[in-house]
Symmetry: C2
Subunit: 432 residues, 2 copies
């Protein structure tokens, strides 16, 4: 059986002592950690880790002097309003924090367990906090690294003969995304307006998108960056990746199809991108490492890595239409469907000297699996609207107003889970 | 004749009292404004305006209480290390600052003119300061808005029949660029390495780019942003644009050509983008407004504007090979070659609800003119390396190590110039 904490952790919880994902939160004004009663200004955001149904406030732990290792002892990294400083400190700091927190939260350790007032100050119910973006994202990149997704999209848009361009097998294809419109799970998504593909010679359609879609992705949060001009070696790239979140790369397919030649996706994506609040570290994912796909053709030398791994992370997407009580699961996939690994992505991204900064976000691309039940977006699941999906009896082609889209991700171990919680968003009607 | 300042301004200066462009600088450690002697830490960056060959330190002006208008009186906007706060305050603040500064610097105003100690503290020689990026750029977007550039590139890559895709005439095509690698004029550019287009069926080339290019662009600095989900109306867009800088969108054509299908430019651009340090405000450019091109087909309603203007800004590019003493001018163009105006670009960018933040950067795209002598990049000037350019006797196809590329831009009035200074960068060899 797994590690034991004095905090109650249900057997199916995503957040046992083995996980300890990091996030940034604000206590609700009513909760005990919000400061002296009667203060009207909202408490500032601060870093926390998830344990069971609780959030451990790292600013309190740090303030109480409980980070007593050599790296974190006098560091202000947990007194910040984002994780950027902490993730930029690198793996030695991450390891030290993990050891300290696993000890402080363990069933045998009295420091917090037996100190009621400190415990009440630092352990908040998840239902009593507001989660915020974990990092300030300087730049957001979205890759395109599932071969199944690439094949399906290519077939839909360019036909089966030209489905996957030749470059795809030589480099992890990617584009720059919009950082400003990255939002935290739970944020409503306003249906975007824009120009859609014209019929024949008429002018383009203009109005609310008629093909609103989700894209099931995960994203890496960059740790220490690199200097402009100095690439990151593929075999050192793992030390530049702090952890992973779930990501919904909302997409307006009609806008995207019309605008994207020749410079790629723009307004069809930039209206919102949702990420989950808890960053699961690569350290917590390590037990779930698995071989990444064999690559043929052989990658160029700068992409050949000594440890070519993915992680076995089960993914599922549910859609809950407005009038329904429960979501219908529309797809089940897995992170291990990634053809180009996270470390290959990072090595490629920097091979030209491009500099990463701590907190940057690298989306994997849609994580479609090989079977139709594992496709990662409605474009693939409905084959561009040519067929319908039945959601507990209600027929859907693309997303409708009121739909709530719910991603969940979990690594299932024998004795415990390492989960990501959920990444959700509800579609609101377009502006009048 | 133009306005007169007590600061000496040469007749051909880019920076008379009519201009007053904003930048961010750090005094050299030896200069008088660097603080008490013997202090080893470098003085912090601060906002300034250019006047003649001098920089006026706005942190000193602000500290002396000389911004006495209602908006700026108690504002800390000039005590920041970037212009983001000031540009986010909007046009009323910009107008007030301009009026105050034109008065303080005028020949008839004694406040600074007759206060030797204050004047020495706030007026620094340009040669004694280090210019930095004017704003923290949250997101950088690059448009593609010269019809001549689009036609030339399209002809080179897709042939004359398919040169300009149909969407180009309906929307200002753009892509997201990399914000982290934006650098200030004068920063050396390391020749990037990457994958280039393969010959036939062989694997792709890997190594230093063999087709390093410049792109002659200007870029808008965004002022006040908009809330996510709330588009900016095209007729209000000018109030969201603080001013313009010169921009060199360095491009590696072989990397770009191989990677860009289907998601657009990525590593072929993200190794560096250079901007000029002085942001020339739209207020200073107003006397140089001119009609923008008539658009056919008629734009969709959200892009129709009551004031459809460009600015008459002369542009030139010089290249100085390592062994040469002087640059050779390789092209002369004009900002007014823009088909989609700055305000149309901003309205389009936000029509899907995408949010702008103060300090964001919007590149115009390469500003090619109609004649071969006005093409805005070497790809066009050498027709993808099919012919050579003679630079004072030295033959060039693409950029060579040691080449310095120098952009200059100026509005030439009858009595004065409103100029941008220069935007420069020297090519260093690739890493071994
Ligand atoms: Ca995507
Ligand atoms: Ca460009
Ligand atoms: Mg998105
Ligand atoms: Mg660039
Ligand atoms: Ni960005």
């Amino acid at each position: 059986m797994g590690l034991r904490s004095f905090v109650d952790v249900a057997p199916d919880s995503h957040f046992p002592l083995e996980n300890l994902p990091y996030g940034v939160f604000r206590p609700s004004s009513s909760s005990s950690a919000s400061g002296a009663g009667g203060d009207a200004s909202p408490p500032p955001p601060r870093p926390g880790v998830a344990i069971g149904d609780f959030v451990l406030d790292l600013s309190v732990i740090s303030g109480a002097g409980l980070f007593d290792g050599p790296i974190l002892k006098n560091s202000p990294c947990f007194l910040q309003t984002s994780l950027n400083m902490f993730v930029g400190m690198g793996r030695p700091a991450w390891k030290e924090a993990r050891l300290t927190l696993q000890r402080l939260l363990s069933a045998d350790e009295p420091t917090l367990r037996d100190n009621t007032s400190l415990r009440e100050k630092c352990l908040l119910k998840m239902t009593e906090v507001e989660m915020l973006l974990p990092t300030v994202v300087g730049d957001y990149t979205d890759f395109y690294c599932s071969v199944h997704h690439a094949k399906n999209c290519g077939t839909i848009f360019r036909g089966p003969e030209n489905a996957i361009p030749r470059n795809w097998f030589y480099l992890p294809v990617a584009y720059h995304g919009r950082a400003s419109s990255i939002v935290i799970s739970g944020t409503d998504i306003i249906r975007p307006r824009g120009q859609g593909y014209p019929m024949g010679n008429s002018p383009p359609y203009f109005g609310p998108t008629q093909k609103l879609d989700f894209e099931l992705e995960m994203a890496a949060i960059v740790g220490p960056g690199n200097e402009l001009g100095r690439p990151i070696n593929v075999n050192e790239a793992a030390d530049h990746i702090f952890g992973l979140v779930l990501m919904n790369d909302w997409s307006a397919r009609d806008i995207q199809a019309w605008e994207c030649v020749p410079l790629g996706p723009f307004l069809g994506k930039s209206f919102s991108t949702t990420i989950s609040p808890w960053v699961v570290t690569l350290d917590a994912l390590e037990p779930f490492a698995c071989d990444a796909p064999v690559q043929d053709p052989q990658p160029l030398a700068y992409l050949v890595e000594s440890k070519h791994i993915n992680y076995d992370i089960s993914l599922e997407v549910g859609i809950k239409p407005a009038e329904h009580e429960h979501p219908a699961i529309v797809t089940r996939s897995n992170f291990k469907n990634l053809y180009w690994t996270l470390t290959q992505q990072l090595a490629h991204h920097t091979v030209n000297g491009c500099n990463m900064r701590p907190g940057d976000l690298l989306g994997t691309g849609t994580l479609s699996g090989p079977e139709p039940e594992s496709f990662g977006c409605l474009l693939e699941l409905t084959w561009n609207g040519q067929k319908s999906l039945s959601l507990n009896g209600s027929d859907h082609k693309f997303l409708e107003d009121g739909d709530e889209v719910i991603f969940r991700a979990c690594c299932k171990g024998k004795d415990y889970n390492v989960g990501f919680g959920s990444c959700t968003g509800k579609v609101l009607p377009a502006l009048p």
